[in-house]
């Protein structure tokens, strides 16, 4: 089976994916590179949305794949490979974010939101630069919004990831949407 190396190989069937995983588990870096090419854009997207920093997102993406390589044998194929990889990406990004105290200061002040109208344009009838708007949300509200509304996580899953209660994640989601709505009104 020959699978060409290029980014974003779509519609890889289960057999092909299993084959690549088994080869990678055997130590085949070429097979792992193919898995990287297939999944890198998805992993990078979530790292970018959580970190709000392109350079950091690139570093995080590399860290994710290195961790995946190191722990590949713990992947039992009971879920999709990407699902497993995605959890590593979210956890790695959150862990890194917690370490960076300076982010707290950066997103502590709501004043950024007051300038939404200069930075984002949201209207029912026009394109929403939502990614940009979300990046200006306070940290906790942003994380919950990204995980729930963009990535499709449930509240109980987010609560577990963030080590908070699901009531807290609901409150933060309400806050995020409200702030985005306020930006829409400007």
């Amino acid at each position: 089976m020959v699978i060409p190396i290029k980014n974003n190989i779509y519609n890889l069937n289960n057999e092909e994916e299993s084959f690549l995983i088994s080869r990678a588990k055997e130590g085949d870096t070429n097979a792992f590179e193919k898995l990287y090419r297939i999944n890198v854009s998805r992993v990078y997207a979530v790292c970018l949305r959580i970190s709000c920093d392109k350079r950091r997102a690139e570093e995080l993406t590399q860290d994710v794949f290195v961790k995946a390589w190191e722990n590949l044998n713990s992947f039992r194929e009971e879920s999709l490979f990407f699902t497993w990889l995605y959890k590593i990406a979210v956890n790695t990004s959150l862990l890194e974010l917690r370490k960076r105290k300076r982010w707290l200061a950066r997103f502590k002040n709501f004043s950024d939101l007051l300038n939404f109208d200069k930075k984002v344009s949201i209207s029912v009838n026009t394109t929403i630069d939502l990614d940009n708007a979300v990046s200006y949300l306070p940290k906790k509200a942003r994380l919950v919004f990204v995980l729930h509304d963009i990535e499709g996580y449930r509240h109980d899953e987010i609560a577990e990831l963030l080590s908070v209660k699901s009531g807290t994640t609901k409150a933060q989601l309400h806050r995020a949407r409200k702030l985005l709505r306020e930006a829409l009104e400007k």
């Binding site: 974003n8 088994s22 990287y36 854009s41 997207a45 499709g152 009531g167 807290t168 829409l184």
Partner: protein, 387 residues
């Protein structure tokens, strides 16, 4: 519910988290209120746009080189697969043959029977748990740190707090209360509280002293915290309440609303605001956390000190537009000249809405006070009156 409360719940409404009664009420409201309908439409647009954001974004450079360098210096994954004796899978691989294990191991009949029995037992246990949780007079308590004490017994993991029981924490202990099915209360060190009542219609604790962090996701006015100087009434929110040994308290609202009440005295505290309470005085005047220090000090003297008149002068002088929250409450606490001064200062800071007159406010017209309150943008006062 009025528009402010409706908007508060529209996020949960959009996700389908609300109970049927609230859903129906909100749905009926949306049918007739174009403002809320527009708001809801915007929320749906945000959710929809969020769902449709690209799930894939390509990095601006190829990251594989860096990954390759890192993994090439590491030990490659150990080979753990063996060729299974049965149920093998076969794939051609560039002329080679590769065998590997079926990830889903076939289970025997006893395993299936055991799993079924375990599932039934678990279902019965959960049914009993939720039945009693909703109908019996206790809450579950989880130890978070140290050795919390219920009555005279130390809590080692999980326990029950019955109606009438006292829960105490020392300087190293913390515990988490499950408020029926409607929320959670974290009890901080050096606290003492009692479960007064728990029914589907009302959950009530008495906080003698200490600190709690409450998160309530049920409809408003189901959760009450009695303190020696006021009762905190949840209106759907997250908040922290601290009570000192002398019975004085400090409430800080993180999200939503809380009302503080003692007799006829009541204070409405929105998100990001605080309010002090004192024994024999009741709740003081709410203020925003970011208010000026001189304003806060003068407000404290006005509420609980002897020199109220000069304190009020300072409060009015130092008040910002945002402090209209405090000035509105003060209107109900002063008379004659002081009321006139307060109203005039408020009129300087915010626009007095139509339907509100100087004479009406001076005469304590409740409807005008409500209109004035709603014009301040802190939410509808009917949230309090209606419920």
């Amino acid at each position: 519910m009025k528009c402010k409360e409706i908007k508060y719940y529209l996020s949960d409404y959009a996700d389908g988290y609300l109970i049927d009664e609230m859903r129906d009420e909100i749905k009926n409201h949306l049918d007739v209120c174009t403002g809320c309908k527009g708001y809801y439409s915007d929320i749906l647009t945000i959710i929809s746009e969020a769902h449709s954001l690209p799930k894939e974004i390509s990095p601006s450079r190829d990251l594989w080189e860096g990954i390759s360098e890192k993994i090439s210096g590491k030990k490659s994954p150990a080979k753990i697969f063996t060729i299974p004796s049965e149920k093998q899978y076969y794939y051609g691989s560039g002329g080679k043959t590769l065998f590997f294990k079926n990830p889903r191991k076939k289970r025997g009949g006893w395993y299936v029977i055991g799993s079924a029995v375990a599932t039934v037992v678990l279902g019965i246990a959960l049914g009993i748990y939720f039945f009693f949780q909703s109908t019996t007079a206790f809450w579950t308590v989880e130890k978070l740190a140290g050795t919390p004490v219920i009555g005279s017994e130390e809590l080692t993991g999980y326990g029950m707090l019955n109606v009438g029981d006292w829960l105490e924490t020392d300087s190293k202990s913390r515990a988490r209360l499950k408020v029926g099915m409607i929320g959670e209360v974290d009890v901080q060190p050096e606290s003492r509280l009692r479960l007064v009542e728990t029914t589907p219609a009302e959950h009530r604790i008495s906080l003698d002293h200490g600190k709690i962090n409450a998160t309530i996701w049920a409809p408003p006015r189901l959760f009450f915290v009695e303190t020696p100087s006021a009762t905190a009434i949840d209106l759907g929110c997250m908040y922290t309440l601290e009570v000192a040994e002398d019975g004085s308290g400090l409430l800080e609202v993180t999200s939503g609303w809380v009302a503080l009440q003692l007799g006829n005295i009541e204070s409405l505290i929105p998100s990001d605001a605080m309010c002090k309470t004192k024994k024999s005085y009741g709740p003081g005047t709410p203020y925003f956390k970011d208010a000026g220090s001189e304003f806060k000090a003068a407000l404290d003297e006005f509420d609980f000190g002897n020199n109220k008149s000069s304190a009020l002068t300072t409060v009015l002088k130092e008040a910002r537009k945002e402090d209209a929250l405090s000035l509105w409450h003060i209107l109900s606490k002063v008379l004659d000249d002081e009321k006139e001064q307060t109203y005039n200062r408020l009129a300087e800071l915010v626009e007095i809405p139509g339907g509100v007159t100087f004479e009406g406010i001076m005469n304590g017209n409740h409807d005008m006070m409500d209109i004035l309150w709603e014009s301040l943008g802190y939410g509808s006062r009917s949230l309090w009156n209606y419920l």
